[in-house]
Amino acid sequence: MQLSRDDVRKVAALAKLELSDSQLDDVAEKLRNVLRLVDQLSQVDTTGVEEMAHPVDVHSVTRGDQIQAGLPREAALRNAPQTDGEFFLVPPVLG
């Protein structure tokens, strides 16, 4: 897989990461090297093999619908970069 600068640009936008033009070259080159390493996967015959997303059988775990104590508001807000004491504050969502 030949990953172009433009591909990396798009992927970075999806990942909400910003790369300068000079960073783009280095990142693209290193990602190309990693892709060369992982491209060998395409040589493995996996016809009829089921995907294995998990090492143990997992299924949805649900609990009874009972009210439980949550994190107190003050504790939940304590690490926030910006709050008004009641809510998390962020810059305008539309701008």
């Binding site: 910003e18 300068s20 996967l41 962020v90 810059p91």
Partner: protein
């Protein structure tokens, strides 16, 4: 008395018998840490001394019967100090994950694994250094300092739990906890000459373990003695309703079963590992020495093939980044973590070329909202290069048009690797082989070449992909004075067998625990 030369279980016995107080033991290792860590850099933070000693005093009061109902359970390790990798939450104390993103983060809760240690009366000394978000094999990706291998200060302690391994090697704590997503407990244990266990997936709760790759991550106990590892596992293992992947199974008594006879044990030697071109000949000799000792203990050796083993690193370096790209989407600077200063919210301010001129970025003409600008600036400034590379790789491997060729194909190969192990474990009880292709390498040697770094994980990633327990065990020293190690693997939930094999190898003389001679 030099307490660093005692096993943790022996120290626990002395504390239980009141020959030494928990406070004295804690003060001893705190002082050793303060004296030696400037050379090693194993800790990101040592806890507040007065708080640690107060905690130790409470354990003493409990042991002398002055306070009741303080400890949830008594353990052979009650009163023994422990160092915790900075990827596990500790309420009210910084949990940084070696990242600028979480440098100031103080979790509102304690991880289940750590909570159980505290409930059993173990005293947390400090939080140890690591590759940022556990992504790396040398601890060089930490944004918060360099950790050196106590056996050779110009070399890496391994990673990502390099700090925890280095703490043990230097005798700064008798016990340490790491986490292992692709070998991050076992490889640093190997580089630093200590024992490290990655348990079966789901045996120890991941609640409060900051996520890297959720289908691979496991908390792992580390110590000088196998017996100490078993006692640590006993405390941390067990079902936790707060982790939906936590296994709800009956637990054996790991310590009691350390002496189960090995007579007739079938030990598999993986050809693809032992004859791998990259493997250091001294490590081959260490594996052969372990083979001889196991035969003397009554075990039988069987040659085993894992045909898909050549693809493990490739599968891992697709699956782990994919899961990471999803997990690390949570760092958007709204609820916690680093937020870029307001004046740098605008990309035109943050991006400059080498000459300091403003330069264009990948955002182009796609004008993001103020909220998005804040998130993008915060992620771009708060996360390090390797973390960004893995996020990008995972985002790419999951993106439209590529997910089938990369992510899904990696999951199919993962199944084939699991099937290889299944057939292997029909023929043998444990597998024996190397942990890493070489002893500890020099700091800086591979840090700019991710692929070289990744290839060093080829013997360890399989246990994570398949969810098996695997243990790294010291096996002597190289000609140049660096620790050598072997790895044992067993079927899921066979920790007892794994620990018994390791314990008896240790007792038969495979290695004698040693503290690195720091000045």
């Amino acid at each position: 008395m030099k307490l660093e030369n005692l096993s943790a279980v022996a120290l626990g016995k002395k504390i239980a018998a009141r020959e030494i107080s928990c406070r004295e033991a804690t003060a001893y290792f705190l002082q050793r840490s303060q004296e030696l860590d400037p050379q090693v850099g194993a800790y990101i933070s040592l806890l507040d001394e007065s708080a640690v000693l107060a905690e130790a005093q409470r354990v003493d009061q409990h042991l002398s019967g002055k306070v009741h109902n303080f400890l949830a359970k008594q353990s052979p390790l009650t009163g023994v100090p422990v160092a915790i990798k900075d990827v596990l939450c500790l309420e009210g104390w910084p949990t940084t994950c070696g990242s600028r993103m979480l440098k100031e983060y103080r979790p509102p809760y304690t991880a289940t694994a750590v909570d159980r240690l505290q409930q059993a009366g173990l005293v947390v000394l400090g939080k140890t250094n690591m590759d940022e978000f556990a992504m790396g094999s040398s601890t060089e990706n930490s944004a918060l300092g360099v950790t050196r291998n106590p056996w050779a200060l110009d070399r890496t302690p391994g990673g990502s739990s390099g700090g925890s391994a280095a703490v043990l090697a230097a005798g700064m704590s008798p016990l340490a906890i790491g986490s292992d997503t692709g070998g991050s407990v076992r490889q640093p244990a190997a580089f630093c000459g200590v024992c490290g266990l990655k348990p079966t997936y789901g045996l120890i709760s991941r609640w409060g373990l900051v996520a890297y790759a959720s289908s691979l991550d496991q908390v792992g106990p580390m110590a000088h003695h196998v017996e100490d590892v078993a006692a640590l596992l006993q405390i941390m293992a067990g079902h936790d309703p707060r982790d939906s992947t936590s296994l709800n199974v009956a637990l054996p008594d790991y310590v009691q079963q350390l002496d189960q006879p090995l007579d007739g044990l079938r030990v598999g030697i993986v050809s693809e590992h032992l004859h791998h071109g990259s493997l250091d000949s001294q490590i081959v000799s260490a594996v052969q020495q372990a083979c001889r000792l196991l035969q003397e203990l009554g075990a039988r050796l069987v040659e085993i093939h894992l045909p898909h083993s050549a693809h493990s690193v490739a599968a891992y370096y697709v699956i782990a980044p994919c899961e990471a790209s999803s997990n690390l989407a949570r760092y958007e600077a709204a609820h916690y973590g680093f937020r870029a200063p307001k004046n740098s919210d605008h990309q035109s301010v943050t991006i400059r070329d080498a000459a300091g001129r403003q330069s264009a970025s990948n955002l182009g003409s796609n004008e993001p909202s103020p909220l998005e600008r804040m998130m993008i600036a915060s992620r771009s400034q708060g996360l390090g290069d390797e973390v960004k590379r893995r996020i990008l790789l995972g985002t790419f491997a999951l993106s439209a048009g590529y997910a089938d060729a990369y992510y899904k194909q990696a999951l199919r190969v993962r199944r084939l690797i699991a099937q290889d192990y299944q057939s292997a474990f029909q023929q043998v009880d444990v597998l024996l082989g190397p942990v890493a292709p070489s002893p500890a390498y020099v700091l800086g040697e591979k840090v700019d070449d991710p692929v070289q770094m990744y290839l060093g994980d080829l013997f360890t990633v399989e246990a994570n992909l398949v969810g098996l327990p695997a243990l790294s065990l010291p096996a002597g020293m190289s000609n140049s004075g660096l620790p050598l190690a072997i790895q044992l693997q067993a079927p899921q939930l066979q920790e007892s067998r794994l620990l018994a094999t390791a314990h008896q190898l240790q007792r038969a003389g495979l290695f004698e625990p040693q503290i690195a001679p720091l000045g």
